[in-house]
Symmetry: C2
């Protein structure tokens, strides 16, 4: 749904992990910083559920990026050193092939005929895109949230191709709590009469998507932050519709305005697929146990960042990654950050995240 | 919606805290144990959002009560000592007057014409019901969750009439996190086309109510419990509808079966009113500050119980009640329980709750 920056068509049909084939798959990406002739200074960013490839503003596209304070010349992810690539995930709707794309076999959007999406597919498609660009090895791979799962999958599937690994607020597999939250978000979308089994036109299931986004927002932040920020403040003008049952408290107004912004910028079917990919991901499928799965990783160094107030990808899930990798003799740095912003801290609390990231990457 | 056990019509029109009048109000209640001639052995239970007055099974109604292990002869709430009364909250749908009741002025259900419900209304209606029965003082008052808020309101509004007070997993006022969760539950109901602005017949907004209940269940338990209980277990037979997006994990099947049970036993409009009453409640409205509000309480002793894994009514909200009352020179016992069952622990973890309750009440 954003302007395509650069797009690469993956060679041949793309076989999906859970069955099914995409006759063709396009991956949209953006880059910052120069690629050295040896092509050995590449840092790949894999994203969370909703952002596209526009991680940072640039001369080509000066609109704000989703990680502007992190990625740039002299910043923690230093574009004077690294050739930074950010790809839009397979299955997303910001240019890469997903459920909102047209199936060339039918001339109509895939909708629910899009095959089940796995985190491994996101990783594999990103890797194929880089290979199509002549890049065969990553100096560093960085992924927050869903992107952290994708980064783990990448490092497990292509162990010799990842130099340094950074996972942020991620997981080796989803907890039942996270599955329950996401299941409910998807049900809100699927229950909206505007969803039509995925065959919608125009607005589609706007109400369901708004509900799903609100639940997302609730679980992306922390109760502590909201207490400090909103308390029991009331809005100046209460929404007339449904009286006291509509928007009366500031926290309700916050959710409403953010959810409205989201609707119209994200495709509901793509949301379903990306959301489910997180539930399905399980490192233990790569060797029988989580330990065996992580045991395939060959990164020379790994940075694992977790946030104390994150209850969607809780701290002990970060600790698990770090502890297992360390036990297997890998060089690991584990950072437990006291941010108040919950799961979203990596987008908000740059004062805490940038120094940790910069310090790790300067030795990469 | 349950069989009326005993019902009392409150004298005169009932004036609501936030404006509006009920021309008549009925309160349904159940009792266990003998009332002494002096009427000085009454223990009143105020309930959470969804239960009715049937706290325990009895000869009259042998069906299971919602607190069967807590209330009975020789149990923690000992019906051989206390005349136990449990009322169905004003605004609920289990016999007491609420949005699902018929407005005698129109002959039609109130629906959204029911006035805004305050926690104070629930407390006042319960007190009026007892007065109609000739009971003017409580030996003890017990309330979990919403019922704990109602119990605080009762003890603040009628300080000389409460001997001992027990609040469980309650709050002096809602956090923005809890408001956000409940706001989303209500929006799910109000967004259901079957809601019709509250003027529904038959099933009504069953889908919205199911979504609301699932979100309730997610916040009533704890992530820790679900990890131990469900892990990543899959259901034996995957729901065919919507394939992988339907019920695949055990935790999804759990939510689905419980939510289905709830729909059809609870009225959606009543849910809206009771839910909002918790958002609106604020002890600080009784004197300007939370301290001043709690300062009105004259209970001879208070037991405050909180649960470590409760993130809807978190432990520090229990601690706040206990600390403030103690600072004001009241006798307070604060129990911090390590139950894994989150907010719902008082319904589940009887091994922890019963001894604490029994020990406190034996000195009342």
């Amino acid at each position: 749904m954003s302007t395509l920056r650069n797009s690469v068509r993956l060679p041949g049909p793309f076989h999906m992990r859970h069955g099914g084939v995409l006759p063709q798959a396009d991956i949209v990406y953006e880059t910052w910083g120069e690629l050295l002739p040896a092509k050995d200074n590449v840092l790949l960013i894999l994203t969370g559920l909703s952002p596209g490839a526009h991680a940072a503003s640039s001369a080509e596209d000066p609109s704000p990026g989703w990680w502007d304070e992190m990625v740039g010349p002299g910043l923690a992810i230093d574009t004077e050193r690294f050739h930074v690539v950010c790809v839009n995930s397979l299955g997303s709707c910001h240019g890469s092939t997903g459920a909102a794309s047209v199936d060339p076999r039918t001339g109509r959007p895939y909708g629910m005929t899009f095959p089940v999406l796995g985190i491994e597919d996101i990783a594999t498609a990103a890797r194929e895109a880089l290979r199509a660009l002549g890049i065969t090895r990553l100096r560093a791979l960085v992924g927050p949230s869903l992107g952290g799962m994708s980064a783990l999958a990448y490092a497990i599937l292509f162990p010799e191709e990842v130099g340094a690994l950074v996972t942020i607020s991620s997981a080796t597999r989803a907890t039942p709590f996270a599955i329950a939250i996401r299941s409910l978000q998807r049900e809100a979308i699927r229950s909206d009469p505007g969803w039509h089994g995925g065959n919608y036109h125009g607005a589609g299931p706007a109400t369901g998507l708004r509900l799903a986004r609100k639940l997302g927002l609730i679980t992306y932040r922390s109760a502590k932050e909201w207490r400090e920020r909103f308390g029991r403040e009331r809005v100046d003008v209460r929404e007339e519709k449904d009286g006291v049952f509509g928007v009366e408290f500031e926290v309700e107004a916050y959710l409403e305005s953010h959810a409205r912004k989201f609707v119209g910028t994200f495709d509901a079917n793509c949301y379903l697929y990306l959301s489910r990919s997180m539930d399905l991901f399980d490192v233990a499928e790569h060797g029988g146990t989580v330990e065996a799965g992580l045991g395939r990783i060959r990164a020379e160094s790994t940075l694992v960042i977790g946030v104390e107030t994150d209850f969607l990808f809780p701290l002990d899930q970060q600790e698990e990654i770090a502890t297992i990798l360390e036990r297997q003799g890998r060089r690991v740095r584990f950072e437990r950050l006291a941010s108040v912003h919950g799961h979203d801290s990596f987008l908000v609390d740059m004062d805490r995240f940038c120094p940790v990231m910069g310090d790790f990457l300067k030795n990469v």
